[in-house]
């Protein structure tokens, strides 16, 4: 079993604390994505798991073994680097088999493993090429192959797709997820820890996602939960595209005051608030959860359209509401073409998709009884 456990993991760079005692369990065969903005220590965490950074505090367990003080090569891991890190002086074949040759495996075993891996990743035609003769996508496949050939307990990916162009990135995304499924189906070790700053990658690839910020874990959950039930305003703002609209709001008598505007909350919303005491809140509504309403409707926010983006099947409306920019995504069919920049629109948030966050702690207080 290749379970990966992080217990109170810390990293201290001579006074600067990069990782603040994080706890994370990655189950056997799970595809775990670490995501967060740059500087959130996701790569540092991964490099500690790999053994490339020394652990300052806490424990890392792979399977049942404590690996804190083990060399990277003895941990049963394989890693794919952002810029591939292929050995430039070795042909693809030698790149793939480097690890096995170091372990002095028999020649025919190495030969067989190279053939298997190159079949899976369709790199058989490039085996006799040098890395500089490969395109970005090919080089990335070789890098994945170099990890695969070792049959590690845990695969580590450090932003492997960020050097590729958008189209290639999309296809590699599918390829890596398929590969993971295939390994799992074949009963092979397939635990993955995948680091990215791209939330689309995280949402599409991860079984579970660990959102990080400044060396702390913000939330660990599957993509659907993360999207529908963000634990705090950071996760809410980070996951989803375009990002969730966050507005300062004060709560009194079941009514939110946003600047000079009033937004009465339905009893359904009030029922799921966990902390009635908190009055200073942040209102969170995803752009997709707005509806363009008539001027006479209650429970709407009025604002001036600052500009309109037509995306084909939907329209992005950029609206200034009480001085803050709000984005609403509405289906093209429902959008009144006569509304242009400068016009006033009324946006009605869907009450079941309203999130309320404590403005101080950022915690989502509207999750109670939502199940």
């Amino acid at each position: 079993m290749a379970r990966l456990q992080l217990r109170n993991l810390e990293k201290d760079y001579g006074g600067f604390k990069a990782v603040h005692g994080i706890n994370l369990d990655v189950n056997d065969g799970e595809f775990m994505v670490l995501v967060g903005p740059s500087g959130c220590a996701k790569s540092t965490t991964l490099r500690m798991i790999a053994g490339l950074e020394r652990v300052t505090g806490g424990e890392i367990r792979i399977g049942d073994n404590l690996v804190n003080d083990k060399a990277p090569g003895e941990r049963g891991i394989a890693m794919v680097f952002q810029n591939y890190a292929l050995y430039p002086h070795m042909k693809v074949r030698k790149n793939l088999s480097f690890g096995l040759r170091l372990k002095r495996r028999p020649k025919d075993e190495i030969e067989q493993a190279t053939r298997d891996v190159s079949n899976i990743l369709e790199i058989g035609d490039y085996l006799e090429r040098l890395p500089k003769q490969l395109s970005g996508g090919q080089a990335q496949r070789v890098a994945v192959g170099r990890a695969l050939i070792k049959k590690p307990q845990v695969f580590l990916f450090d932003e492997p797709l960020s050097n590729l162009d958008a189209k290639l990135r999309a296809s590699m995304r599918v390829r890596i997820t398929d590969l993971h499924k295939q390994l799992k189906a074949d009963g092979l070790q397939s635990t993955v820890v995948y680091v990215t700053h791209d939330q689309t990658e995280a949402m599409t690839m991860g079984d579970r996602i660990c959102v990080m910020k400044e060396g702390r874990i913000m939330q660990v959950a599957d993509p659907v939960t993360l999207y529908n039930r963000p634990a705090n305003s950071f996760v809410a703002g980070f996951i989803g595209s375009p990002e969730m609209n966050l507005m300062e709001a004060d709560l009194a008598d079941s009514t939110l005051s946003i600047g000079s505007q009033r937004l009465p909350l339905g009893s359904d919303v009030m029922a799921r608030l966990s902390q009635m005491a908190a009055k200073r809140l942040t209102l969170g509504v995803r752009p997709q959860h707005f509806r363009v309403a008539g001027s006479d409707e209650a429970g709407t926010l009025a604002g001036k359209v600052s500009h309109v983006e037509f995306m084909g099947h939907e329209v992005y409306l950029y609206v200034k509401v009480e001085g803050s920019q709000v984005i609403a995504v509405v289906p093209s069919a429902q959008y009144d073409r006569s509304k242009i920049s400068g016009d006033t629109v009324y946006l009605a948030p869907q009450s079941e998709n309203i999130h309320l966050f404590d403005r101080v702690s950022g915690e989502n207080i509207s999750l109670a009884k939502l199940d």
Binding site: A50, G51, L52, A71, P72, G73, E74, I77, A78, M79, F81, Q82, N83, A85, L86, Y87, P88, H89, F98, G99, L102, K103, R146, K150
Partner: protein, 302 residues
Amino acid sequence: MTDHALSTPLSVDREAEQILKAQRRRQIISATLRYGVLFSVGLVMLYPLIWLIGASFKPNSEIFAGAGFIPHEGTVAGYVNGWQTSTPYTFGRFFWNTFLIVIPKIIGTAISCTAVAYGFARFDFPGKKILFASLIATLLLPNVVTRIPQYLLFRDLGWLDSFLPLWVPSAFAGDAFFVFMLVQFLRAIPRDMEEAARVDGASTWQVLLFIVVPLLTPALISVCLFQFMWTMNDFLGPLIYISSVDKFPVSLALKLSIDTTEAFEWNRILAMSVLTIMPALIVFFVAQKYFIEGISAGGVKG
């Protein structure tokens, strides 16, 4: 109408052609001028070498007769007699001595400097900053300052009149310049490949041997070339430490033929000089590409 339509573009064409012609003429003139200057300066720089080669084929009487380099009565007597030398040994012996110094020195330098540079460039250890600073400080120290203490040290070790004082210090990374050069080169190489190798299970020495050394090759080649040329040309070192004629390297042997011959046989000396510079010249031209790559990457970047 038609005439008019045709004649206008024609005059434009003619004008354009004239401009083009003028441009081409200017280009030719400037190119001629440029190459003329380059060629003449190059010739001035190279002339002593050309003269040396020419003069080595002249008879003694002719050498100082003029500044021209083409021999009127070409002869290889200088080479034949020069090779025999005035000692019991041929010049071949001196070449052999030189290589007995050069080869261990180059191998030692390459191995020791790589290891030391790798340590400085890739590892953190206590006192690293001070050690590196003192390494750089030795770069600035004039050689002369250490000559006498070194001499006393090697005398006490009983190494006088042997090749050891000439190559052993270099085999322990004694040439700070090469260490510095390799450190600079290594700093420009991303660490990912080494990390990938560590994840692949390589030990520190395996990483050095299988990953770092191949990446360092261009810099290492220029280190070896520098060491080769400097050692070939080193005169003072052998002069101080070597006293028996049978151990003389070529640099001393050349001087020897000046000392011992009453009437200087200049063509012998010149002929042997030509032979002496040949190895360095050949090696340089063979490895020129790597040499330049090595110094430009190591010295400028960083």
